[in-house]
């Protein structure tokens, strides 16, 4: 039994210890997935490409939450606020300052990192459900802040801002959707590698030490305050990038796009994907994008109830989400090999 399996067997806490080795996929599997992501868009309709782009974008946002919760053990229901800040940063820079879309993304990352880092400061005093409540407040406040009168000149108020979709550069013969997909894929891969390395580094070990036992971590010389706020900053920064990409893909930002529902969806995606298992973020994103559509096709009037039943089944049958399924699959393959 590997350590991860043990954790699953005995783990009943919300955030159980995940050893860093179990946080990622093997190199071979990763390459296969990457190849599939590169090839598939060439054979499908633009609409499917758009959905895949949204999958990567929500996957990034879930990944960011996963670093915060799975990595450093802090809860957040306020990710929609960081997502909104990222989206508006890109939209405002593109539409009012005519800055190239690609350049707005690092700006969003920096602004959101700062925002998250500063928010992490007061959040230091809170833990568990109290932190969840504080971030919840942030998520509920954000759509109203975006409607404020003195910001309206920039944000467009309730009307929102329409964003121009970029064409493929250098005269590449591909549609806007396909170009945006590959662009998003490149950003996603870069951030994924960054995240994996971050969690394997000294900082990542500090995050996990804090998650597992704060007192033990501080007695071992980990600067708890610094690393907790840092985790918030990194998480917010990545969410901001996802927000920017989302604004460009959807071509529209409005306060109603970034309500608490989005934050809850992202949280849901993390739980379904498996807390602390980074590749699971994308499985979770697929869940929050496709399962509501499935529920709707089953029953229009009761789509919410059907979604609830499906979610309940997932939580009941595989409480550790996609990670549990992946480990089960791995064991199966192992057994088959032995035979």
């Amino acid at each position: 039994m590997s350590a991860a399996e043990e954790a699953i067997a005995e783990g009943h806490e919300a955030v159980e210890a995940v050893p860093k080795r179990a946080m990622t996929l093997g190199t071979g599997t990763s390459l296969v997935v990457l190849a599939a992501l590169l090839v598939v868009p060439m054979f499908v309709k633009n609409f499917i490409i758009f959905q895949m782009t949204m999958l990567l974008i929500y996957g990034l946002a879930v990944l960011a939450l996963n670093i915060l919760t799975g990595g450093s053990g802090q809860f957040s229901l306020g990710q929609s606020a960081f997502y909104a800040v990222g989206a508006y940063t890109s939209a405002v820079l593109m539409e009012h300052a005519n800055i190239n879309y690609a350049l707005t993304i690092p700006v969003s990352a920096v602004i959101c990192f700062g925002f998250g880092y500063l928010f992490g400061k007061p959040a230091l005093r809170l833990s568990g459900i109290y932190l969840a409540l504080a971030t919840f407040a942030l998520a509920t406040a954000m759509p109203q802040l975006l409607k404020l009168n003195f910001l309206e000149h920039w944000t467009g108020g309730v009307q929102g801002l329409v964003v121009t979709k970029p064409d493929a550069p250098f005269g590449l013969p591909m549609s806007q959707d396909m170009w945006l997909y590959y662009f998003t894929l490149a950003v996603t891969v870069a951030i994924y590698i960054f995240s994996v390395n971050l969690l394997r580094s000294r900082s990542g070990r500090a995050f996990m030490a804090i998650r597992d036992n704060e007192i033990a971590a501080s007695s071992m010389g980990v600067n708890v305050a610094l690393y907790k706020t840092l985790a918030f900053g990194v998480s917010a920064g990545i969410t901001g990038v996802a927000g920017s990409l989302g604004a460009i893909a959807v071509q529209f930002v409005a306060p109603d796009s970034y309500t608490i529902t989005l934050a809850i969806s992202l949280f849901l995606g993390m739980v379904v994907g498996g807390v602390g298992w980074l590749p699971g973020s994308f499985v979770g994103a697929a869940f929050i994008i496709f399962v509501p559509n499935m529920a709707e096709s089953i029953s229009k009037g009761l789509s919410g109830a059907v979604f609830g039943v499906l979610l309940f089944l997932v939580i009941y049958l595989v409480p550790h989400g996609a990670r549990q399924v992946a480990i089960f699959g791995q064991q199966l393959v192992g057994k088959l090999r032995k035979n």
Binding site: F47, K147, V162, D256, S257, T259, T261, I289, E296
Partner: protein
């Protein structure tokens, strides 16, 4: 044997000739874009069946039922309507996803009556770039009447601005010396009304309007604003609010023993959810305007149009709450689309659909007030622009005066 062969050959020749003839005729007359065929017209729609605005979901259900009725009667020009409707949860990103699904995966001819200003803004650019009709959008914002920049987008209901202009025109005529105070919601909805009122009053706006007071939708109560407005002592109060605040306003003015002339937006005229909670005795004499018939009003009991509506609801939506104005709305919008599709004949291209939608002449759906007619032309993409004033008396609204047009120039 030989005879049989000849007969068979003759039959074959006749059959071939017949096929050639009909297909030749088809080529000459019938024209189709994606989503239309000899047997079917595919129409897409998005509605908030879930989320904060899910109360409006009944509009989509009514439209679905309406097209079911049309199909039972044999369809339009022999073609059945395939109405595909998806939930956008009142969320703009979801609206974009669902509309792209309708266009690229379901391949609909047009997107009809999508609901909500944010959702429509989110999909407008995409649909216009793809030249797909965004027909009869379910929002009262003024910006949908912009055929020059968005030739594939058209509104349906009277815009908030044109309604406000009607109030302004009425005031100029009946109370030219009024001291007007305006209470409005601080968002696109309230600001559209404010602008319409000022435009309608024109040069007199500056002297007539003595106070503009706004409130946030998040405020629990607007009593404080009413007290403040009363202190300025206006004799006309324009109430541009959503239902909850409208009820509060009417109630508070009565509590303050203050009796200004009150004019209420069409959005908040529901007897059940505004006038009753405000107190019928407090609401006497309040003015507003309407374009559709009220399903609970007994004066339409013998109206042939409303009788058809009642029959439709009884048969296709049994058990539905008939006092829900959304069902009157959905019926009216769906019958407008049916009319336009009928006018298209066998030329079911997207361009022709827009052309026909922009050439409606005096069309009167069953559910609109007598005299209110739908008119469009290539430079006027605002189908309904007429309303009639009404006064609250007893426990219901009484219509008075003539049908007034609030046509405003397209942007």
């Amino acid at each position: 044997m030989l005879f049989e062969k000849t007969l068979r050959a003759a039959a074959l020749v006749t059959a071939t000739a017949a096929v050639t003839l009909t297909s030749g005729a088809a080529l000459a007359q019938k024209k189709y874009d994606t989503g239309a065929s000899d047997t079917e017209i595919k129409i897409g729609n998005i509605m908030p069946y879930s989320g904060p605005a899910s109360a409006y979901g009944i509009i989509g259900k009514t439209e679905e039922a309406y097209f079911r009725m049309i199909n039972d009667k044999g369809g339009i020009n022999g073609r059945k309507i395939n109405f595909v409707t998806y939930d956008d949860g009142y969320s703009p990103p979801k609206a974009v996803e669902q509309v792209r699904k309708l266009v690229e995966s379901d391949e609909v001819l047009a997107v009809f009556n999508p609901l909500g200003t944010p959702s429509n803004t989110a999909i407008q650019k995409y649909l216009n770039a793809k030249k797909i009709p965004q027909l009869f959008v379910a929002t009262g914002a003024t910006k949908w009447n912009d055929p020059k920049n968005f030739p594939w987008t058209m509104g349906w209901q009277p815009s908030y601005q044109s309604e406000a202009q009607i109030y302004a025109k009425w005031l100029m005529k009946e109370k030219p010396d009024a001291k007007v105070a305006i209470l409005y919601q601080n968002d696109d909805f309230g600001k559209d009304y404010l602008k319409g009122t000022k435009d309608g009053l024109g040069a007199k706006a500056a002297s007539m309007i003595i106070m503009e007071e706004s409130y946030e939708i998040s405020e629990p109560s607007i009593d404080g604003h009413i007290v403040k407005i009363k202190a300025a002592n206006p004799d006309v109060l324009l109430i541009y609010t959503t239902p909850k605040f409208a009820a509060q306003t009417i109630k508070k003015t009565a509590e303050l023993n203050w009796k200004p002339l009150q004019i209420l937006t069409n959005v908040s005229i529901s007897v059940g959810s505004v006038m009753k909670p405000a107190g019928f005795e407090n609401a006497q004499g309040v003015l507003s305007a309407a374009y559709a018939k009220d399903s609970t009003d007994p004066q339409w009991a013998n109206d042939p149009g409303m009788k058809r509506w009642h029959e439709f609801v009884d048969k296709y939506m049994p058990g539905a709450d008939k006092s829900d104005t959304s069902m009157v709305y959905g019926y009216g919008a769906a019958s407008t689309l049916a009319k336009v599709l009928e006018m298209c004949g066998d030329d079911l291209t997207r361009a022709n659909l827009m052309k026909q939608a922009a050439s409606l002449k005096d069309f009167a759906p069953d559910t609109l007030l007598p005299g209110v007619k739908i008119n469009t032309n290539p430079t006027d993409f605002a189908p309904i622009a007429q309303l009639q004033m009404m006064r609250f008396k007893g426990e219901r609204w009484e219509l008075f005066g003539e049908i007034i047009s609030g046509d405003i120039a397209s942007q």
